[in-house]
Amino acid sequence: MIQISNLHKSYKMGSNSLHVLKGINFKIDEGELVAIMGSSGSGKSTLLNILGMLDIADEGNYLLDNVLIKDLTETTAANYRNRFLGFVFQSFNLINYKNALENVALPLYYQGLRRKIRQQKALEYLKKVGLLNWAKHLPSELSGGQKQRVAIARAMASEPKVLLADEPTGALDSNTSREVMSLIQKINDEGKTILVVTHEIDIAKMCKRIITLKDGVIVEDKKTDQILL
């Protein structure tokens, strides 16, 4: 599903340049649940952003579902993001003036679906994350865990090939973290490929495979015994 070879990325910091990713190689198959582990500054978020086409690599190849992701125009990148990827962010990034239902329906709007179908689908995914009764609530009326579940519903609604989660539990307490991870496991069980970036080993252990980054290189890539929730 995802194939990455020799990925490099550096950031210009004034006159210095910071080499964040120093040649990353891996392959992720369909249906995997992969944790990308690493302490802050290891380059894991940068990697995820490149995978999510939110950022561009300096060097290297990135194949997503056998499509080469390179030199995309903003418009094509937007279309790919819309069709292939679902995002879950640490800070949820829900649009604060839209209610849960509208937030979930938003990626469908950009897919060009009709309003009625959008509503239907959004409700379906809200139901899946157990928030059907909260459809008309604004993000400010939801708890952290609920917000993240809305965000997951939103990411899933566009039926992406890959779900990318950047520290999905970073802003949550341990109980709600487990709830959210349980939801992610459930979605994975249904066959979705999921990448979770985290710095917590507990969270990583809830995945099926852990890729550990350190200073821009992969130091470990192994299957793990998934802790089922």
């Binding site: 937007a78 990034n93 003036y97 839209k98 709007y109 950009y110 897919q111």
Partner: protein, 409 residues
């Protein structure tokens, strides 16, 4: 770009961001409203000004005979100069190039009586051209004509207020009024914008007046108007030549300042016109200033709005919004709001102006108005610049990498 779905999305955004909507809408509405009001007031001032100063014909020379102060060519000083009919003919013959209208004037006061009612009025004996010099407006009947002059008829044209005083609700035209020994037939009623005094006048053929006064040929004053295309310089040349001509004809020392007076309205007109154009410039300046202030206001708000939405735009991009759809969204939203509120401000302003009408006349603002073209252009400009002001930050926001936009707190 203008699908129903997109409008739904826009309305939703507008509805759910009331403060933002009201803020930008208010700026535009207020800008247009103030523009209309100020511009209207400016036009009102101009109206008053024109009513005060620009009523009489502006291209006239007034000739008054005086009393000489110097002895000259065998004549003693302190000689009273008089105008007579031949002077009119001389001017007509010698100054064809300059001349537009010419009329003598003989002023008297007399008692008019009708059906036992009497009143004293100023009677002006004039030629038909007087109508154009004084810009007299005929309401009924006619002014004194050339036939009246030639045949020395006993016809008069009376002012609106004279008619009101004497005839009450009767139609004065064709009625006879007694003046002195004889009866005069009213052939017309006139009005004059210069005010009440001018409408309490009676016009009489000057030849008739001369006949009444022992068939003399004396004239009190001569009013000539020159062709407007002569301009200021031409008017001065005309004045100079006319003065020289009369001084030589009446044998007045060329350096004598009191034998003959010529009043040239051109200088006053020039000043008035300068004042009017200054007024115009001030009005335009105020108008443009208001507009610019409005444009800056809406620009600031647009920059603020887009900045505030950076993160939202990042989220939208992560979810698959293309740069074009981001720009289109912001533009459609801002154009929609500015158009609606612009039209609202426009209508409110025009409504206020029409309500004021002449209520502010005491402050010299008469019939304030804004012509619809100016109003529409102003509204359009504000909407247009509002759109540009929205486009620039929208374009920038759309081209920010989503990752940067998402990091925005």
């Amino acid at each position: 770009m203008f699908s129903r779905d997109q409008w739904q999305e826009i309305f939703e955004t507008i509805r759910k961001n009331k403060l933002r909507t009201i803020l930008s809408g208010f700026t535009v509405a207020l800008g247009i409203f103030i523009f209309i009001i100020l511009f209207g007031f400016g036009n009102g001032l101009k109206n008053s000004f024109e009513q005060f100063f620009l009523d009489d014909a502006t291209n006239t020379l007034w000739l008054y005979p005086g009393v000489t102060s110097k002895a000259y060519q065998g004549f003693k000083d302190n000689r009273r100069i008089e105008f007579e009919n031949s002077d009119l003919i001389d001017i007509q013959e010698n100054f064809t190039f300059f001349l537009e209208n010419i009329t003598p004037r003989i002023n008297r006061r007399e008692v008019l009586s009708y059906k036992g009612q009497s009143n004293i009025y100023n009677i002006r004996a004039v030629a038909p051209d007087h109508q154009y010099v004084e810009k007299t407006i005929i309401m009924k009947g006619r002014f004194i004509n050339q036939k009246d002059i030639d045949e020395r008829t006993k016809n008069i044209t009376i002012g609106r207020l004279v008619a009101q005083d004497i005839f009450k609700k009767e139609d004065p035209v064709g009625k006879y009024i007694e003046m002195g020994e004889s009866a005069f037939k009213v052939v017309g009623v006139f009005q004059d914008k210069s005010g009440d005094r001018e409408e309490r006048l009676v016009y009489l053929p000057y030849t008739t007046r001369q006949l009444m006064e022992k068939n003399n040929d004396k004239i009190d004053q001569i009013i000539v108007s020159f062709k407007p295309e002569l301009g200021y310089v031409g008017a001065l040349a005309f004045e100079k030549q006319l003065g020289d001509f009369f001084k030589s004809k009446k044998v007045i020392d060329p350096t004598d300042k009191s034998g003959l007076y010529i009043r040239n309205t051109t200088e006053r007109v020039r000043q008035n016109q300068r004042f009017a154009s200054t007024l115009q410039i001030i009005v335009a300046f105020v108008g443009i200033g208001t507009l610019i202030a409005g444009i800056i206001g809406i620009s600031n708000i647009m920059v603020f709005v887009v900045n505030e939405r950076t993160k939202e735009l990042g989220v939208r991009k992560a979810l698959g919004a293309t740069p074009i759809s981001i720009v289109a969204m912001i533009l459609n939203e801002s154009i929609f709001i500015t158009t609606l509120s612009g039209i609202f401000g426009l209508l409110t302003g025009i409504f206020m102006l029409s309500r004021m009408d002449d209520q502010l006349e005491q402050y010299f603002i008469l019939d304030p108005y804004v012509d619809s073209l100016t109003a529409l252009i102003a509204t359009f400009l504000l909407i247009f610049f509002g759109a540009i002001a929205g486009y620039i930050p929208a374009k920038r926001a759309a081209s920010i990498k989503p990752i940067v936009a998402l990091r925005d707190e």
